[in-house]
C-alpha cells in the first residue's frame, strides 16, 4: 500500500539541498514556493535562496521569477544551483533553456521523485566532482548537512587524520566548491548512506573494528601515513569501553534493542551493541529500502510501522530519532538519526571515529542505567 502514516523521511528536494548547500561557493536556489523552502532551511541551518513562486507564476510561467532571482545572485561570485520542486518540475517549462547564458547547475529532484538519499546523490552527480591525481591525502565521505552528526564526524576524522599525518582531501559534501573537482584518489566514509562514489573507498569510520581496518588500508596506500598513534588510541579507548560495559553487565542484563536509522548507522549501532554489551537486536528498521533485502533489515518509513515493530518486539532500548522516542514508552532511548527534536544540540557530536563510538556507548549506558534495565 503506497500510503504512509506519518512519513518519517524527507524528500529528494531536501536531499539535493543538503548536498549542494554544503559547498562553499554555491548559491543554492530552491525553485518553488515558500512552503517548500522553509523546511530545508530550518532543517539544514544553511543559507538557501528561493524563488518563492506563487500562483501567477504557475499560470503565466515562472521564467521571469527564476531569472530575476538568478540575476540577483549573479554578482556574488558563487556558482548557482537551481533545485526544482514538485510543481515547477511538471509545468513543462524548459528550465534549462530559460537559464541559457547563466552558468547554473540544474538539479531536477522534485519531492515525488524519491527520498533524501536520492536527491543527495542526484545533486552530487550533477556537480560532476572529479579526482585530481595531484591532490594528496584522503577524502572524507558522507558528510551531509542533513545528518546531525555530520559536523562532529568531520571534526573527528580530521583529528584522526592529523594524528596519522594524513592530509585531508575533499570533504563530501562540506568543502569549498573548487575542491570537489580536485578530490584525492582515496576516500573514507563516515555515513555510508550518503556516498560520493569518488575515489577508491578505503573503508568506513563507524566502530573500532572498521576504523582499524580503514587505517590499516590508509597505512598501505598513503605515503607518509603514520597510523600507530591512531591504533594506540583505539586500544586505549576500547579498553575503557570494555570496562564500562563489563561493569554494566555485572549488574544488568544486556539490553534488547530496536534500531531505527539509515542502513549505515543502523549496522554500526547493531555491531557496537552486540560486540560490547551482548545486546539482542530484536529489530532493525531502516528509513528507506536501500539495501534492506541484503542486510535483513526491514523498512520502517512511517510512524505506524515503527509503533508496530516496537509493540511486537517490546525492546528495552530504542535507537532512532525523536519520532521513535515519542512512541517508545518506558524504553531507554538514544538518538542516532534526524530529527532529534526536543533536546538541545549545540556541540558537534560525532558518530564516526573513535569519539563517535565512545559517545554512542556512553549515551547507551547512561540511558539504560537511567531506565534501570
Amino acid at each position: 500500500m503506497p500510503e504512509c502514516n506519518n512519513p518519517l523521511w524527507p524528500c529528494a528536494m531536501t536531499g539535493a539541498a543538503a548536498c549542494l548547500a554544503g559547498f562553499d561557493g554555491i548559491a543554492v536556489v530552491i525553485h518553488g514556493s515558500s512552503g517548500c523552502y522553509y523546511y530545508p532551511t530550518t532543517l539544514l541551518h544553511a543559507p538557501l535562496h528561493g524563488t518563492f513562486i506563487c500562483e501567477e507564476d504557475v499560470i503565466f510561467g515562472s521564467e521571469g521569477r527564476l531569472v530575476e532571482v538568478i540575476d540577483g545572485l549573479a554578482g556574488t561570485g558563487k556558482r548557482i544551483a537551481v533545485i526544482t520542486t514538485c510543481v515547477p518540475a511538471i509545468l513543462g517549462e524548459d528550465i534549462r533553456s530559460m537559464l541559457d547564458g547563466h552558468d547554473v547547475i540544474l538539479v531536477d529532484s522534485p519531492g515525488f521523485s524519491g527520498d533524501v538519499e536520492t536527491g543527495y546523490g542526484k545533486a552530487l552527480a550533477m556537480l560532476e566532482p572529479g579526482i585530481d591525481p595531484a591532490s594528496p591525502g584522503v577524502n572524507i565521505d558522507g558528510v551531509c548537512l542533513f545528518d546531525p552528526f555530520a559536523a562532529g564526524n568531520e571534526q573527528e576524522v580530521r583529528r584522526l587524520f592529523a594524528m596519522a599525518s594524513v592530509p585531508v582531501g575533499t570533504v563530501f559534501s562540506h568543502d569549498r566548491l573548487d575542491r570537489a573537482f580536485h578530490a584525492a584518489a582515496f576516500t573514507v566514509g563516515t555515513n555510508g548512506d550518503f556516498p560520493s562514489g569518488i575515489g577508491e573507498h578505503l573503508g568506513g569510520m563507524l566502530g573500532f573494528d572498521e576504523i582499524r581496518t580503514t587505517f590499516t588500508r590508509i597505512g598501505e596506500v598513503i605515503d607518509g601515513a603514520v597510523c600507530d598513534p591512531v591504533f594506540a588510541e583505539l586500544d586505549q579507548q576500547e579498553e575503557r569501553i570494555v570496562r564500562a560495559c563489563d561493569k554494566y553487565l555485572h549488574r544488568y542484563d544486556p539490553p534488547v534493542a530496536a534500531i531505527f536509522a539509515g542502513s549505515s548507522y543502523a549496522a554500526f549501532a547493531a555491531r557496537v551493541l552486540g560486540q560490547y554489551l551482548d545486546a539482542e537486536i530484536c529489530c532493525t528498521g531502516i528509513r528507506t529500502c536501500h539495501g534492506a533485502a541484503a542486510t535483513g533489515m526491514v523498512e520502517a518509513s512511517g510512524l505506524s510501522r515503527v509503533k508496530e515493530l516496537i509493540h511486537t518486539h517490546n525492546p528495552d532500548l530504542v535507537i532512532g530519532s525523536s519520532f521513535e522516542r515519542s512512541v517508545c514508552g518506558n524504553a531507554a532511548f538514544v538518538g542516532i538519526i534526524p530529527p532529534l527534536r526536543g533536546s538541545i544540540l549545540l556541540a558537534p557530536a560525532p558518530r564516526a571515529g573513535i569519539n563517535g563510538t565512545l559517545s554512542f556507548v556512553e549515551q547507551v549506558l547512561n540511558a539504560c542505567m537511567d531506565k534501570k534495565i
Partner: protein
Amino acid sequence: MTSNPLPVNSSRLGGCTLTGAISVTSHVRDAVTIIHGPKGCSHHNVSLLHASWLDNDHALLPELVSTGLSETEVIFGGEELLRQAIRHASGHEVRAIFVLSTCIVDTIGDDVVAVCSEEYGVPVIPVPTAGFLGGTFHDGVNNALIALAATAMPCQKDRGINIIGEMNLEYEVEENYAEIARLLSLLGLNVNLRFVHDVTYDQFARLGAAQLNILRSPALVPVGEYLKERFGTPYLPSFPHGLSGTLSFIRSVAGACGIDGQAAASGECRRQEELIAGFADLSHAPASLEPTHAGTDEILVAEELAAALDLAAGTPENNARLPVSAAIGTAGTRRMLHRWRRAIHA
C-alpha cells in the same frame, strides 16, 4: 538568506496552505488527516508538528496519512490512491477523516472533492488546500476552521466563550490560552470551546453555543464572519496585546456579554502597575527596540511599555536591543519584560 521576494507580492513569503490547515486538523484527537500528495510534503509537516508539540510537552504525534503520490500518479492521476487511503483510514476507529490536498495534486487536476463525496461510513471532510496554489499559511488555517465549522449545527446559546484559531504552532500557545482564560474568569466567564485545539470531533457540536467568539488574530476575521453568519455569534478580532490593550479587551468582552467590567478592569490595572513597579530597575536603561520580526501591534505595545518604564534612547556603543514579540495580556507582557531585562544585562 536571500529571500528576494517581489516587493509587490508579499504572499510569496506566506508559507503553505497545507501547513496552516494541518495545524488545525491535527488538533482533533479522534480524527485522521489524509494528505493527498508526495510523502515529502507530509514529512515536512509531521516534522514541524513534532517539533512544535514537543516544545509544548506533547510527545505524541497526530495521525497524518500521506497518500504517497509518486511519479506514476503524477502522470496517470492520483484519485484512486486517495480513494484507497480514505477506505483504509475509515476501517479504523476514527470519528472523522479530513482530506487535504497539495500543490502537485491541484496541478495534475485530481478531483479531491468528488472522491471525498463517496460513501465511506465516516464523515470525510475535504479542506480546500493546494499548497501555495491555495494561498498562504493563514488561508490554510482559515479554510480548515471554516470547513470544520460547517460540520456543526446551530444550538442553544449559553454564557461560554469560544477561543477561535489559536496558533497551534506557537511556542507559548498554552500560556497565551491560560492568560485569556484568566482574563475571562475576572468577568465570571468560562471557555466553551477551543476551536480548534486538542478537541474531539463531537465537541464541535458546542461551537454554536457560545455567546462570544474571541479570535486569536485579525487574520481570522473571515472565520469570525462565517461563524457570525452561521451561528449569530459576535466576535472580538484579536487576543489582547500589551497593557492598555488588555484593559480594553476586558471592557470589550464585558460590553459584548452585557457585564459590568469596571471592577475587573480596575483590578487588572492595579496588577499592571505592580508589574511595572517590579521592573523599575530598567528605568533609564539605554535601549532600543528590535522590531525585525514584529508586526505593527507588537511594536505599538513595546513602545507603550518602553514609555511606561521610561527607558532611555541608546547609542550604538551602549545600546541593549530589546526583543519585540507578541505580548498577550498582562502575563505575556511580564514575560517580555523579563526578556528585556535579560537583554539589558546580557
